[in-house]
Symmetry: C2
Subunit: 707 residues, 2 copies
């Protein structure tokens, strides 16, 4: 495979002269660790990281399965991430009396560290290209549903062979280039994670939703965990050294993290679907959720504690999606995507590609790349008609309660576990079952009033979307108003108890059938339809698209060679760039802010929420060196999921931690922009300054810096 790629790439170099649009520019790219941008770095920055550098940074990087990035930063298992990545864990660890999310937390001794519920960290150990194995399993004449099944079965086999629960080895086959390549990622998996330190939310998320995605910023968005094995802190093979010197403007930096999802390879048809259907639909759900949680959390401090993390998550998505949508609605951006697509269309229909580069076998295998555009366009049309079914019933958003999620897992586990591994739903595959069980048996606390609120609202939205006279709506509501029905379901279910869940899971179909639990009954009631919807989506939308994108990806390879990177997949990537300010509305926005600016911004906003400083920050102001750089921006190419990624210098030292992008970066989902789009980080210098002088955390400072 490697061989063939090279050949194709070579052919592409000659063909490149045909093209009018350069494929990548500036500091673009979320590069694979097994295909790093060595050439670009050498050309632009005269720096070529060697294999040792790459291996060190890779194995120091950490993925949070709750959705974020981090890094080992000490010899005794200390992991740094963002406060907002750790927020869910801080909330779970809190009680109505002790609110660690709001007030911060500091374990002065190891014994004070708090173990997290259902948190899993992954550290990438190796990458193997398994494209040939996976594609060989899918015969060219298979119907989409069978092709999907065959591929899933093969992936399940590969994952199972590579994983080892006893040794805490997790293995995922990652679909890259939309099916153009499959790589096996093998991780070291950690599940005993303890909270070490978090600042107050008021300074971690200073400026709240209003300042989110804005710059200049003044956020100490950090959080420290410690990784344990066998009840002892691990000594990681690799961890990043701390830079007390930080960066200077224009310095080359790297970001090693787990960007979640980009759609840069999407065809114009898919972008138009997103613009006219996908984003508006999602936004309408986010608006609804934000209003629900905002009004409820304000009723009391207890409500706020129960709901604020969900609220923050929704607000964050909403702001990100609005920014992205504005990009999709910008004809300039769309014109750029159209030009890119035209270039690819011209290439795939060119004689050079159709007759010269590809072998007849390849043509048979990958189909006609030009037809792929139409296949995708047709799939997007279909997708638009399925959005309600897929979201509300397929994903279960109509039944928005953690209790329903447990009930559905139990109902499906009873049906799936007895099947041969290859025939199960992917999440019940052998390699993934352990993670699924950990999530099912979590002791994470839930609150009936909060579950009822969410469930009543989602049942209302469900009735609205289908109409209250719809047969399934009537069955689900069972003659009651959404509120009364939600009260009945939440009040009556026993799946809120982890012990009951374990019993039902272990008891299999017989136990589930005998449960006499209203939430289990609901999950059963909708399961046939939910599976049907999911299957229809996978076989008539996902699978044709996967094959079409794979064909286009091959063509793009042929055109651009290794001068490219796949869309983000919540797997480890390397980005690079320089520390650099930008210009907005004709005014320069400097690269760095300082601690002084934090106090100024708070004063300017009347010290009121969400610009109110924690008391400790007010008291310790005089002790601080106020000219300490606080946050900074860089041109590195990042996206959601990069939160908590370490920013490292050429020496591989931590100089900061990614926590946000500016508002102009919200189009990075579709296209990279070097002019204004910026990644926003906390400066390593601010972190030690705050730990030492605000939090009296001398022990932590020593652990980080050795001083």
């Amino acid at each position: 495979m490697t061989q063939r790629t090279r050949l194709v790439a070579a052919g592409a170099v000659m063909l490149l002269t045909m093209s009018s649009t350069a494929p990548a520019f500036g500091d673009e790219g979320m590069w694979l660790f097994n295909a790093p941008p060595l050439k670009q770095l050498q050309e632009k920055y005269q720096f070529e990281p060697d294999a040792k550098w790459l291996d060190h940074v890779q194995k120091s990087s950490v993925r949070f399965n709750s959705g974020g990035s981090g890094s080992f930063v000490s010899a005794t298992g200390l992991v740094m991430t963002n406060h907002h990545v750790g927020a869910g864990d801080l909330q779970k660890a809190s009680t109505l009396e002790k609110n660690y999310l709001r007030d911060g937390f500091h374990a002065k001794t190891p014994a004070d560290e708090i173990k997290c519920e259902a948190l899993e960290l992954n550290v990438l150990q190796s990458i193997e290209n398994v494209t040939e194995q996976v594609t060989a399993a899918v015969k060219a004449d298979l119907a989409p549903a069978e092709a999907f099944q065959a591929r899933q079965a093969k992936i399940g086999q590969i994952e199972k062979a590579a994983s080892d629960d006893a040794k805490h080895v997790r293995a995922d086959v990652v679909t890259l280039f939309a099916g153009g390549q499959y790589h096996l990622y093998v991780y070291k998996k950690y599940t005993d994670i303890r909270i070490v330190f978090a600042p107050e939310k008021a300074v971690a998320f200073f400026g709240g939703d209003p300042d989110n995605f804005e710059y200049p910023r003044y956020d100490l968005d950090i959080c420290f965990f410690r990784v344990y094995e066998n009840d002892k802190p691990v000594a990681p093979a690799h961890y990043l050294k701390w830079s007390e010197a930080g960066t200077t403007e224009n310095e080359l930096i790297f970001v090693s993290g787990h960007p979640g999802r980009t759609t840069r390879q999407n065809t114009v048809a898919e972008l138009e679907y997103q613009r006219d259907t996908g984003y508006p639909y999602l936004l309408q759900r986010l608006f609804r959720g934000e209003v629900l949680l905002n009004s409820w959390t304000q009723r009391s401090a207890a409500n706020m504690q129960k709901g604020e993390e969900d609220l923050f998550g929704i607000q964050n998505s909403r702001k990100a999606r609005i920014g992205g949508l504005q990009g999709l609605l910008d004809p300039k951006l769309m014109a750029r995507k159209m030009a890119e697509e035209k270039r690819l269309r011209e290439f795939v229909t060119s004689r050079g590609y159709l007759n010269g580069v590809r072998t007849p076998a390849e043509t048979a295998a990958i189909g006609n790349p030009a037809a792929a555009f139409d296949t995708i366009a047709a799939a997007e049309k279909l997708r638009a008609t399925m959005i309600n079914d897929a979201t509300l019933i397929g994903n279960g958003s109509a039944f928005n309660s953690a209790y329903f999620g447990y009930a559905r897992t139990l109902v499906r586990a009873a049906a799936e576990k007895p099947k041969p591994a290859a025939e199960r739903l992917p999440e019940f595959g052998d390699a993934r079952l352990k993670s699924l069980e950990e999530a099912l048996f979590t002791k994470e606390p839930h609150f009936d009033d909060f579950e009822m609120l969410k469930l009543a609202d989602s049942l209302t939205a469900f009735a609205n979307q289908y109409g209250a006279n719809d047969a399934l709506v009537k069955q689900v509501l069972a003659g009651k108003s959404p509120r009364d029905r939600a009260a009945e379901l939440v009040g009556g279910t026993k799946v809120k108890d982890p012990a009951v869940r374990r019993k039902l899971y272990e008891g299999g179909q017989a136990a589930v059938d005998a449960a006499a639990d209203p939430m289990i009954d609901l999950a059963k009631l909708v399961d046939a339809k939910a599976r049907e919807v999911r299957k229809a989506f996978e076989t008539t939308v996902d699978e044709p698209k996967r094959q079409a994108y794979a064909a286009l990806a091959k063509a793009r390879y042929a055109l651009d060679g290794t001068n490219t990177y796949p869309d983000a997949t919540f797997t480890l990537r390397l980005s690079y760039g320089t520390v650099k300010g930008y210009t907005e509305d004709g005014k320069p926005v400097p690269a760095y802010t300082t601690m002084d600016g934090l106090y100024a911004r708070s004063a300017e906003q009347g010290n009121k929420y969400p610009f109110e400083l924690p008391p400790r920050w007010v008291e310790r102001k005089a002790k601080l060196n106020l000219s300490t750089p606080f946050n900074f921006v860089s041109t590195a190419d990042i996206i959601g999921g990069n939160s908590g990624s370490p920013v490292v210098n050429k020496k591989g030292e931590v100089v900061g931690i990614i926590f946000d992008g500016n508002i102009q970066s919200l189009v990075l989902d579709f296209v990279y922009d070097q002019e204004q789009a910026r990644a926003v980080s906390v400066d390593s210098r601010a972190i030690v300054e705050a730990l030492a002088k605000v939090y009296d955390a001398a022990g932590l400072v020593t652990e980080l810096t050795g001083k």
Copy 2:
């Protein structure tokens, strides 16, 4: 006509024995002042208000054209209403330096009173039944569009004949019983209204959105204005005396105000439309607006000042609609409406009604009442398909900016004013032109950044609803993103200047054509489509429904006689009830709260926004009699628009002021409920206690109480 109605009503008394469901119960009803519930009051409360009592209360009652109610409460033109009714005016009167909405206002001398921009108050002088004149103008064989035109023309004539701008007489023909009756309401119109007193928003709207529609409550939701004519305070012919004694539990009280809109006569088909389409659609727009304004107002204190009133209005609607929707989704409520409809269906198809009561001429005039149900059901189906066009283009919600509103009015005025009065759009009718001009030439300040925010968002929603490739969307956006286009329109338009608006209005079509103004050009671009949509809606939905509802209304008359009242129409109505607590979740909710409770609720919420007390209230606590009743609930039948309505006792004295309903009252849109639904008022005793001891407003207290 009066004669005939009586006959029909008399016939109905005999038929009543047929019916199984009582038509009205408890303290139900928003009664017309020319058809008050004398019988009910006599039977239940042994009190029959005489003509003098009714005339006095009627002429003391005031309508705010900004959407609310109030009353004259002194011999020198003092009008009391809610803080939230006056909030728009307080905001307009404020500057970025002086925030009267937030901080309150108190004019110690008449010279300090602040004149409001574009505020009009109406005081109802007389009611005349003009049903016969209006219906005679609509010949039985007219097509819907012509029938609509003929009726509008007749209404315009009647209004013009009765109104007199020079004497500040306004005349509106009000459509009652969905077209079953037409009454001419003649008002004294006041346009020189000045702000006298308002408390801080923090106590007027204590508890904010979280406590809105909840009870117990502790809100001083009051505001005083003074009405001027010829630059002198008016001496109203009628004003309400102040009750310092207030009420006692179970005391009979009256509410005289302007309920905006109820839909209690709606057929089940229309309620199902509202449940499955109308409410969900509106709510989705409200969710969007709330998120937009919430995030923007939090960016800075200046933003908050510009946007908070719009935000409050949206939050209030959102909470009200969610409550109403929950009622519509309650099968018990819908079953009640179905039973009511069955009773009416059985009656209209009964031989007694079809052959006995009606004359052949009546049958010809009102059609077949049974067929009316189908007509309405068909119209609702059509309406669901028109909702986007009607809302976004017809109502102009796609172009959500005050500047667009001005531009549309200017474009239409140029076309409408040269036409004969009978052919104009109703809002350009002779009787209404003056009010329209006042609204157009208002000096109300606007803010470009805020207008841009709203316009960019609504253009985005517009593009989302129709798809960015839609021809009209493309024309509207003119090759730009919604944000860039909004910036261009708001930045470029000159209609933001009242002088420019006046010039364009007076210059007519030639001036408008020569304006070269981007917002005028936009209004022109969409006007053909907007008029077309409006006309289609009026003739294919509104008019058939109007005729069908009129037929049903006649039948209901025949069935229930005068034992009924029309749906609310933002015209003066009389409700009654008693001061009474209720039971919620098995616990009693007492009728009254006290001032003590205000401090307790604030403390319980950590004195934090929106439960933070103004400094003055903290300082003066010791001076207050904390057992003073603060808010109270009653069974009176109210709805939005009743805000600011005086609550009067049998002697016609003010004992309180309506400012809210509890959460259980949100179904009153569709059905009355005496068990839990309650109107919430500020107690007259709390008002003078606060004026005297917190605000040092001895002058106001003397003006109210004579002491």
